[in-house]
């Protein structure tokens, strides 16, 4: 059984503030889902390896060079900044003090 404290911890690891309603509702819902998922433990897997990727093996990498963007694309991207100052994206301080 997953507790409300654990849900709060998971939310905080994912950088989401949890609401009281979510903390009341999610422990049971997530526990029900895990009760179902637990059937995986009965699978007979022998020596089977995990499937970690479907990507083909890379034969070559593209050149590690800067690709210049046209000015209108740059404007489109900058236009999406939630806050900006001159040409810069503005955020709260990353390092305190």
């Amino acid at each position: 059984m997953i507790t409300s404290e654990e849900v709060k911890k998971l939310f905080s690891l994912a950088r989401i503030e949890a609401t009281p309603e979510e903390l009341a509702r999610l422990p049971k819902e997530i526990s029900d889902i895990f009760a179902y998922i637990d059937k995986l433990k009965t699978a007979q897997l022998g020596e089977l390896a995990p499937t970690l990727s479907f990507a083909p093996i890379l034969k070559e990498l593209r050149a590690d060079t800067a690709i210049s963007q046209n000015a209108s694309d740059v404007e489109l991207i900058k236009g999406q900044f939630p806050e900006s100052s001159d040409d810069y994206l503005k955020t709260k301080k990353v390092f305190e003090g």
Partner: protein
């Protein structure tokens, strides 16, 4: 639309029986007439669609050769980027986000001359099976507006099913094209993983996501697939495949009797088995195949998918684009932005994904699930030694009532039971409308060998001709 097949429209354009502008204005008129009730579209690109139609009409007038898709109205699920237009993924966090580039599939459709009519509704970030998780309200089923359209690509399915557009694109991570196609009585095709570039598709679970078409016939789905498939340097998992088609006189289809028992509505089973009877004989032979390991597929999917979701959703932090909440510190900005921007299903999946990836649980859940994924792929490989395709229902029940499962996430997840195995194994799969149960459409699913997409489409076409 009096004409809704691509080739018929194409012939009408060339013979000047119908102009592209007429086709587009019919499409827009259907949207105006029905979308208030159904809510398939989140955005309609009226001006650009009309402008494109005029351009192609001028081309026809000057006697230039016309491509098959040229002038055909198309809808796109709103998690596919179209440069300079709003792309929301049906989330509050992206409600005013303007895409800065075209998805690869959009470039390909533009090159082919298809006309983008608008963007369709979905479950937020494609997470759900009913479109009830859209931040902008659900899409309703055109056969019964008290029922869901299915999801997550519900808007695209409804746009095609209710004659608003002849073709549409969706994305399928665990059934999000096939399930709504089944619920709305249209064709929905999920290509093999790696066959269509995901560049410009807002990622949900990157090892499972694949873009594919909705249409009213297999032929139309194939025309769209031909236009969008192929290698794209911006998606390292995309591949160029040169594939021949067998044109067999008789295809052998495998029925997974042991797996199909799980939760199947007997009324659906009857429709499905009736279609087998009808097809058995001249063109098809049906044999039982053992795929009992597929019973682990859904549990496996609900570990791998949330793990990838939790990683993909981290980018929506309100820093570079999207809505940003106001707060004093950086961490509080993140916390409040996501709290406000994401709906509960997105948060639930992030929490599950964070849990299965955390220290101490990684081996027991995530690695175990990836080993089960190998088991599922192997089960298919063995079955394909004996059969050309696997055949089973697309969904265990017909479209359910709005609100019926929205308070019970596990019940909603169980809807995906027949569709997730193909995603886990990277196989192509298609849903065909084959009948009705109590007035609601029933879909039949055909699953093919990996990268044998055209072969699967050929089998589906033959099935469509035989059973229709």
């Amino acid at each position: 639309m009096s004409i809704s097949k691509i080739r018929d429209l194409h012939d009408a354009f060339i013979s000047k029986k119908k102009s592209v502008s007429e086709h587009i204005s019919e499409s827009l008129a259907h949207i105006r007439a029905r979308d208030g009730e159904l809510h398939a579209f989140l955005d309609v690109h009226i001006e650009s669609a009309e402008r494109e139609a005029e351009r192609i009409d001028a081309k026809i007038a000057s006697g230039d050769k016309l491509g098959t898709l040229e002038g055909i109205g198309t809808a796109l699920k709103d998690n596919i980027l179209v440069k300079g237009t709003v792309t929301t993924a049906a989330s509050q966090i992206l409600k005013s986000y303007i895409a800065s580039y075209d998805a690869f599939v959009v470039e390909r459709l533009r090159d082919a001359g298809a006309i983008i009519i608008g963007k369709t509704n979905l479950d937020e970030f494609a997470m759900g099976g009913s479109t009830e998780n859209s931040a902008f309200g659900p899409t309703k089923n055109p056969y019964d507006i008290t029922r869901v359209s299915g999801g997550s690509s519900g808007g695209s399915a409804v746009a095609v099913a209710s004659d608003m557009v002849p073709i549409a694109l969706g994305s399928d991570t665990g059934g999000s094209i096939r399930q709504p196609a089944s619920f709305c009585g249209v064709v929905g095709f999920k290509p093999s993983y790696g066959r269509v570039s995901r560049s410009g598709l807002i990622a949900m679970a990157s090892s499972l996501d694949q873009i594919g078409p909705f249409a009213t016939s297999v032929e139309d789905a194939e025309i769209v697939f031909r236009a969008i498939e192929g290698k794209d340097p911006l998606d390292m998992t995309s591949q160029e495949i040169n594939e021949g088609v067998s044109n067999k006189k008789e295809y052998v289809l495998g029925i997974p009797e042991d797996f199909m028992k799980d939760g199947l509505d007997p009324k659906i089973e009857k429709v499905i088995r009736d279609s087998f009877k009808k097809a058995d004989g001249a063109n098809f032979k049906f044999v039982p195949v053992s795929l009992k390991d597929l019973s682990y597929a859904l549990a496996c999917y609900y570990i791998i998918m949330p793990a990838e979701v939790s990683s993909n959703m981290a980018r929506f932090d309100g820093m570079r684009y999207g809505d940003r909440a106001k707060a004093d510190t950086l961490f509080e900005v993140y916390g409040k932005t996501k709290a406000k921007g994401f709906g509960v299903e997105v948060k639930r999946r992030i929490a599950i994904g964070t849990y299965v990836l955390s220290h101490g649980y990684y081996d027991a859940y995530y690695l175990q699930a990836q080993r089960v994924r190998t088991l599922v792929s192997k089960a298919f490989d063995e079955a394909f030694l004996e059969v050309d395709a696997i055949v089973m229902p697309t969904t265990p029940s017909v479209a359910f009532k709005l609100g019926e499962k929205s308070q019970n996430p596990l019940a909603m997840y169980l809807e995906d039971i027949y569709t997730v195995p193909a995603n886990l194994a990277g196989l192509p799969a298609i849903s065909l409308p084959i009948g009705k149960s109590e007035g609601m459409p029933v879909g039949l699913q055909l699953i093919g060998k990996r990268f044998a997409d055209y072969e699967l489409l050929a089998i589906a076409k033959r099935f469509e001709e035989t059973v229709a």
